[in-house]
Amino acid sequence: MQFFGGTEISPSPPLPTASGNNGNMMYIFNRNGVCLLYREWNRPLKTLSSQQDHKLMFGLLFSLKSLTAKMDPTSAEKGNLGVPQLPGQGCSFHSFRTNTYKLSFMESPSGIKIILVTHPRTGDLRDSLKYIYNLYVEYVVKNPLYSPGTPIRSELFNKTVDQYVRGLG
């Protein structure tokens, strides 16, 4: 799977349809489960404390990845359920939808997981997630004062992401 298309470092963002208020929440985790960023724009129902919520979200994604790798109907050779999968190894899911929300997921080759929770009728957000990953690379990773594995504290990154998500259809 070619992750970065061609020679572009930052692909141009998918055309926004400017209907505003579509994104509910966003999470960014690293490969160890540390929540690097949590943005919340529209979340009327909060059942758990943030710590528990982050752990639950990470656990759900880990288990779903394990499930999809095992359930893959096109590959004959599958590992055992529960064996941690390397990023990119085995079949991985990219979104799931319930009646109240749609969760879009992307994992980079380095294990950075980006999750966007939106309105259930949102389309395919894989390109948008790639764009957000590129924003992360530009604003966070290339910042010499940022130490990897710690929560992101960049106002500029937060503002850019907010602006971008607000523009998603």
Binding site: M25, L56, M57, L67, P73, L81, F93, R97, L103
Partner: protein, 141 residues
């Protein structure tokens, strides 16, 4: 060509009561299918907790690289889910139809014990007919 790979039915406690394979590449033994069914049951429940708004009933569609998983949950908690090719249409209708077959041939069978594995010949036959009809319809489109 859109195809159905497998069908699972799980009871309200998460136990697998029916599994039918229609052509996956790898053979999965019974233990694996049981584990996957319980895992799905738990994931379905957890996804309700993470909803930003109230009134969530759980995952209806999971999209992966090589397959889609459509899930239908009845009001009593019995879940029917089908693993199919990405982009297959009308799976929700198929699942609702399978639910009707379940109520007719399984629940109305006086010898069927609730929550136990399904061993009803008429259910198997009518299910095979329904899936075959769906296959033909998908090929035709």
């Amino acid at each position: 060509m859109a195809a159905i790979y497998s069908l699972y039915v799980i009871n309200k406690s998460g136990g697998l009561i029916f599994y039918k394979d229609y052509g996956s590449a790898g053979k999965m033994d019974t233990n694996d299918t049981l584990r996957l069914a319980s895992l799905w049951h738990s994931m379905h429940a957890i996804s309700q907790q993470l909803s930003p708004v109230s009134g969530c009933f759980g995952i209806e569609l999971l999209q992966a690289d090589t397959f889609d998983l459509h899930c239908f949950q009845s009001l009593t908690g019995t879940k029917f889910f089908v693993v199919c090719e990405p982009g297959t249409q009308h799976m929700e209708n198929l699942l609702k139809h399978i639910y009707e077959l379940y109520t007719d041939y399984v629940l109305k069978n006086p010898f069927y014990e609730m929550e136990m594995p399904i061993r009803c010949e008429l259910f198997d036959i009518s299910l095979a007919q329904a899936v075959q009809k769906e296959r033909v319809a998908l090929l035709g489109r």
